[in-house]
Symmetry: C2
Subunit: 328 residues, 2 copies
């Protein structure tokens, strides 16, 4: 009996050691970014460390498009909008003659997007409003279950970055709360990010349209209105962080100049702070783009990262794997 | 040595038992509300129960004024606004002749408030905007450290309800996430609710004004603007819940008709749901008010609580203690 107990204890210790030895960031090469992440996390979580951060203040914020999942040839939510326009066209015959809808229906996405953010916003309003929040959530879920990426043929939630999934899990294992701070629609992300990233809906911040509470036939619903509420991009990101979180993060992760202010706000805080930009350098395994890109432009961030002490991830060099490893 | 180990283990077991036996809701009498709370929590947390709710969905929402702390003779934030007006009067000489400011400066709060919500909002804008979020947080913290309630002479954070503090702790011990959903200002609550209620800033939803991110002399700040952003009251509460939490709570606690829609939205959800209204019936230990009250009016809620299955707390009968027990 005593022998048995001792052996079991020994087996448990072995297991504990093995689990400690398994690399939580195994899809990252042992280059500078991984070392910087691990060094920072150890510095702020080690009791007695001069830079120790109590659990309640371990807030890490992540951009979504281009940081947690891909964003080429255009934001996946834009592709969702185009599909919605095609689907809703029969009920909106006037769209055949009205831009930017007419170009979308003709398959000419370039012309449809020539109107820039304003055109995209108009299309988002027309396709994201007029239903309840529950109905919209189902529309998003159904689309993600079947829609395929035009280049890779994968579903969109297969195109999330494996190294970032590991990073999210590593931070949570170190008692960080992980938040998404995205220019994308908050209600477009909430239906799936819990399952895919392990981030619950209350830790998602995004752009939004206004909503209204009402009771329909005795049943309360929240209805989506075609009116802009908040754009969570650029200088809107620190505003969104303040509104939803109410305290300054200690780590921020982005990939484009839309994340510049989020990193600036995060890393200007007192004590230990960490900023990181994913630089899309891998034209073979993913896409290579930065200063001149229409989507996910990274220009100012490239210029200033070094001076500001932000870590730059060179996707081609620093990531062993790009996309999520799916269990078949 | 063996004897010592056995004794230590025995002592540990005793301690564990004692702690399990201690009543987590000891300031509640053993009347219907306490029984209903405990029965519900056991029902949704017991593995294998037909009504079991996974940890991620254990969301409980609490109104603040009149539910977690007192709200008479008027909302404590209104008293803060009046103090701010007196303090800022020298820089705003025009207030002497401008209502509602003039009446506040004369000490005639009745006239100042005759303009209703609009007047209060105007005063809030004038006193809550124009500074950074960090500066405002310090103003609130400094005020709460010294300001005394006109009737009890206590500081305002001493006037939180002991039974509700126990309820918050009990729910969290059962792995609920506790949120505040208040008509009060979100930035007025965040500086102190973590210390007093154990609710972190990211779990606070409230009314807000707009803010703007800017870099001043190389230092990023978030500036408070005199422009309304969101009123988190009545039908605004389900909207605020959806915006911040993105999923329907399973328990909701309020005290006035301003909380009606929050309870309606929560308890109309599928599966097990719980709604509770605190009825202020104790004119001796606190205040007695309901249908006719200017502050915290409870009329429709009283009419419909029974039919809707909401629990009514009769403060006089159901609470052993009213206010927080302070460690001296």
């Amino acid at each position: 009996m005593k022998r048995l107990v001792t052996n079991s204890l020994f087996a448990l210790l072995l297991l504990a050691n093995a689990s400690a030895a398994a690399d939580p960031l195994r899809s990252w090469n042992d280059t500078a970014p991984k070392k910087a992440i691990v060094a920072f996390v150890e510095r702020v979580t080690k009791p007695g460390s001069a830079d120790y951060v109590p659990v309640a203040r371990r807030i890490a914020v992540f951009d979504n498009d281009g940081t947690l999942w891909a964003e080429q040839p255009m934001y996946f939510q834009a592709l969702f909008i185009f599909d919605r326009i095609k689907q809703l066209a029969p009920q909106n015959p006037e769209w055949k003659k009205k831009e930017p809808f007419a170009s979308v229906l003709k398959g000419d996405l370039g012309t449809a997007l020539a109107g820039g953010e304003k055109a995209l916003l108009e299309m988002a309003m027309a396709t994201h409003a007029g239903m309840t929040t529950d109905e919209f959530s189902k529309i998003v879920t159904d689309w993600l279950a079947t829609a395929k990426h035009p280049k890779t043929g994968q579903t969109y939630t297969e195109m999330v970055y494996q190294p970032m999934l590991e990073l999210l899990a590593y931070l949570r294992a170190n008692k960080f709360k992980t938040f998404i701070i995205s220019g994308g629609g908050i209600e477009f992300m909430r239906p799936w990010v819990e399952g895919v990233y392990g981030i619950p809906p209350e830790q998602v911040v995004g752009s939004s349209i206004k909503t209204k509470y009402e009771v329909r036939d005795g049943k309360p619903v929240i209805v989506r209105l075609p009116e802009l509420n908040f754009i969570d991009d650029k200088a809107g990101k620190p505003v969104g962080i303040n509104q939803h979180i109410g305290r300054r993060p200690i780590m921020a992760f982005g990939n484009s100049d839309g994340d510049f202010e989020m990193l600036e706000w995060t890393t200007a805080g007192q004590a230990a702070r960490f900023g990181l930009l994913v630089h899309h350098t891998d034209g073979e395994r993913e896409w290579a783009y930065d200063r001149k890109s229409r989507i996910g432009k990274l220009d100012k961030g490239l210029d200033e990262a070094q001076e500001r002490g932000w870590v730059l991830v060179n996707m081609r060099e620093d990531w062993k794997t790009i996309f999520r490893k799916m269990e078949k």
